[in-house]
Subunit: 138 residues, 4 copies
Amino acid sequence: MYYEMQYRVPYADTDQMGVVYYANYLEYFERSRTEMFRQIGMPYSQMEKEGFFMPVAEAHCKYMGSAHYDDLLTFRAYISEYSRVRVKIVSEVRRGDELLVRGYVVLGCVNSNFKIIRMPQSLVDCCEKCFYDPEADK
Amino acid sequence: MYYEMQYRVPYADTDQMGVVYYANYLEYFERSRTEMFRQIGMPYSQMEKEGFFMPVAEAHCKYMGSAHYDDLLTFRAYISEYSRVRVKIVSEVRRGDELLVRGYVVLGCVNSNFKIIRMPQSLVDCCEKCFYDPEADK
Amino acid sequence: MYYEMQYRVPYADTDQMGVVYYANYLEYFERSRTEMFRQIGMPYSQMEKEGFFMPVAEAHCKYMGSAHYDDLLTFRAYISEYSRVRVKIVSEVRRGDELLVRGYVVLGCVNSNFKIIRMPQSLVDCCEKCFYDPEADK
Amino acid sequence: MYYEMQYRVPYADTDQMGVVYYANYLEYFERSRTEMFRQIGMPYSQMEKEGFFMPVAEAHCKYMGSAHYDDLLTFRAYISEYSRVRVKIVSEVRRGDELLVRGYVVLGCVNSNFKIIRMPQSLVDCCEKCFYDPEADK
């Protein structure tokens, strides 16, 4: 299933066009995937304690609408692909039913020396809990 | 031709992994395309005075290496595609010869009411000046 | 009385010292005073619709401890002084009972042309609801 | 003497009021004091290699004017007070001759375990090079 959380847009996130600055959506993606990982039992801070990190290898955003100051947004995150070496997480930002931004990040897995490693099986098992295929849901 | 500028990484841009936080590269892309537009004779602030805006429709980043605090980075920007309705700008971040991040943004064109419009011919003409095809350069 | 809200520290807010970067506390202050104004019946977005703005004239932060990634912080905000021309808002950041940062901002009042004006009486009346004197509370 | 550098305001730094968001000035202060420390022969990255850090204990900003997108600002930084345990650095932001923001930070000195220590004498010696008293300059 997917994970959802809400977020109130502060002044800090806007730019002079009166909308949320485009780079901030990548911060929004981080907030939602952090909470998603927490919910599936693998908080990111625990990963770091266990000695592995999940750096972003790739990020993508498609901007379909604009969020404004004080909007109460809904962030959705889910895992669309995963293996022992990478996880692809889709993130969506909505205001009510309106989809404003959709994107994804691809995370790799490294140890504390930034050497690429395979993900622990415990993490792979957790991924299943937030695996979601929007097509299958229709 | 492409445009290049330099940038010193401040503490503000780093995260606790000791590297530049991934969303900040989209700010870096903005800095380099702003200067690119200025250099080709179409500063972004002038576009806004003339009543058109270039919102980001799509953004993409591929992270191949990490930038660190106090690194002196080189930002490269060039136009890889353009038409009357959109411009695709490639952005690259290097430390010395090492390519750390490559990405692109696709800009549309809107008027002050956020209605999609065709780009003024004057802007299209400017785009030619920073059009660049890395393949043709080899 | 004072207003309180909670906030989870994202990776985006940390720096390479492994703590929240010092400038981010001013964003935290904004988040808490926005919610405080909403709670006392004068949401900031409504102020803007009514044609007045409350720019920051002065800001101060005292850093006593460090917040870390994934900390669940408590932001407290209250009005310590107010008149027809300015409002002073104290902001505090705690992790549990530990006070990490205390600061304040002084807000003025301007119209949409950035001309200084007196605050509407309706806003002044609202200020009373979040007026708080920590000394009197002891 | 004081140190000065220039900075071009990106879109990222603005908010929907059309001006630089107030927290960003603390990032500007960091940029200017980093370059100031580099110029006086004690780059911050070298301090960290030598095992000491200079966390911010206090920060203050007074906002007298607004910076806008694409403004070419001048950042000035100088040391107004220093001892073995703390350094006070004044930062000013100007557009041409117009002083927009003045503030200061007070830095302490800690080791890599965040224990407060005395500054190395070599750093204290460097401080003299950027000590400046605006009153004495009149």
